[in-house]
Symmetry: C2
Subunit: 341 residues, 2 copies
């Protein structure tokens, strides 16, 4: 079985965005009543249609089996509105993912968006995480390390500010993918700057304050987009940790931190495989995502990451199995339990 | 000749920092008169001592000839105080670099710090750049894309806000290394987060707004630390540019943008060489810099980047010459003129 651990519902029927647009418009318009959750009217057929020619078609074409699927990351927009805004929006997005996973239980397994808001304790995300895991069978969450959308005004991920959500993650035995949302800072292009910076930033935070994994030994994070800049600068991170008197990175955090394979060219994938242990790499493509085109040099989609992995003949078969499937059972224990059923 | 294009005076005599500490203290203390430039009392012998057992020793040990040398990047601290604060501090730092280059004209060539201040037009940096280039013989400058120190409150580098300094750079025929300073945002570790993010961010800004290099066809930027995350995600950047309707990256910006080799392990250096044309790579180590230790896996300093390059036997001799020496003449024309003398 080939599991893609990183997919977002980027092709959701337009009614979802319409609801969001109205919600945001109401925030700006003092004449309108405060936002209420309301309903998003999307039929099962609309959901099927949105997936058949996109994620499902791509799964078939590329030969992947299951996608761990969450709401559109750039759409989370935690900086907009207030706690209630984020709660209503997250609930709708997660309910839609649940419908996708119910319609296509062989193809999609859910991961939830959290109703984060800048400056507000992530304790307010606990109920939604619990609902998604216990009621919907979701296997993880996306945690935004910068709900401000590019101004980084909340504390680092190692701060006790974040502990309420970690306590619930540990209790439910679900990991978080550390994933920022859209950037509203004109300095940061969302998918070309902010996403990659978010990954790099989070990893360095985890080196800087290793107490986190002493407090939560079973807490697990997936750092997407191949770990941002981290594998390319693995020597820098090893050296910085060493200068800080930390144990080797393997002992410091590789029991808790994992990288996906969303790196859109073969030399990058090769580097990732050379420097990061296979036990810490999870196959992913983020299709349909940030990069939609075909690489003229190869004639294939940039984000067809399976093809890069398939072409590398020096990956040990046991390692290949871990990357495509085995590590998911370790990082997402609820995925494994679900698969057994 | 082997030229290291990226070195900072991290070992400056402590009198420099004492002056800075007093300057900062005066900012906070309403009883003190406003900061005046004053003097930094450092003898030539102190300068010699600060270098002999550090940068000069390392040059000899590693077999490099010249370092393009600038004030300590983390020390620039553009977010502190106001325009006058930055002007006095930059002048002192640059004057000290000039003294280093005068004492050791064979070993060091100067690059200046600019007196940037958040929210203030870089037009205020023109005089100091001109002084350093015309009076001191400096060959370039360090340009901080985020003078706020981790809050990214100024416009992107492609904004007309920055044009006054670009106009002077083009007139003087000097490049800028895009280099952030210390982070005062607790989310960003200075050398492990903010530095790398600054590089990645700047590159993506240049893809997003290609008008800059139409307005300044001869403007040149060096992106340090191996280009941040860029070479590792070269497929992503190629794909994003393509999705935006831009020409291939080579045509879009590789006439203006160059990467150094401050990548502290061999697999990273190999990736850089595989994906970035040799014409766009400049040898650098940033010694004595962010990572000071010895890699237990190799027994050598992490930042001994020459060793990684020397060990790679598939670099064409002509490319090796470009990386170690030839490209500097192209990117820093004043270095070449100086060498001829």
């Amino acid at each position: 079985m080939i599991i893609d651990c990183h997919g977002h519902y980027t092709t959701a029927p337009k009614e979802l965005q319409k609801w969001r647009d109205a919600q945001i418009a109401a925030l700006k318009d003092a004449k309108h009543p405060p936002s209420s959750k309301g309903t998003v009217a999307i039929s099962d057929d609309q959901i099927r249609e949105s997936l058949e020619n996109a994620q499902l078609k791509i799964q078939r074409e590329r030969g992947t089996d299951v996608t761990i699927f969450s709401p559109r990351a750039a759409g989370m927009g935690h900086h907009l509105g207030n706690e209630t805004t984020s709660r209503h929006w997250s609930e709708h997005c997660n309910e839609l993912i649940h419908r996708v996973c119910t319609l296509y239980p062989q193809n999609f397994v859910g991961v939830c968006q959290l109703p984060q808001t800048p400056g507000v304790s992530p304790a307010n995300c606990v109920a939604e995480l619990e609902r998604c895991v216990r009621d919907f069978g979701f296997v993880g969450c996306n945690l935004n390390p910068d709900p401000s959308g590019g101004y980084w005004t909340d504390p680092p991920l190692t701060d006790k500010f974040w502990y309420p959500i970690y306590e619930k993650m540990v209790e439910l035995d679900v990991p978080a993918m550390i994933h920022v949302s859209t950037s509203c800072n004109p300095n940061f292009h969302t998918t070309g700057g902010h996403y990659i910076n978010g990954d790099t930033t989070a990893f360095m935070q985890l080196i800087s304050e290793p107490k986190l994994f002493k407090d939560f030994p079973t807490l697990k994070f997936v750092i997407p987009h191949g770990g941002g800049a981290v594998p390319y600068h693995w020597g820098r991170y090893r050296g910085l940790a060493q200068d800080m008197g930390r144990p080797p990175l393997k002992d410091l955090l590789l029991g808790n931190v994992f990288f996906d394979t969303c790196v859109y060219h073969r030399p990058g994938i090769e580097l990732l495989l050379k420097v990061i242990p296979a036990d810490n790499i999870l196959f992913a493509s983020e299709m349909v995502g940030a990069v939609k085109g075909i690489d003229p040099d190869t004639g294939h989609y940039y984000d067809d990451t399976k093809r890069y992995l398939d072409a590398i003949d020096w990956i040990e078969p046991a390692d290949r199995e871990k990357i495509f499937q085995g590590n998911v059972s370790k990082v997402y224990p609820r995925f494994a339990k679900r698969a057994k059923k």
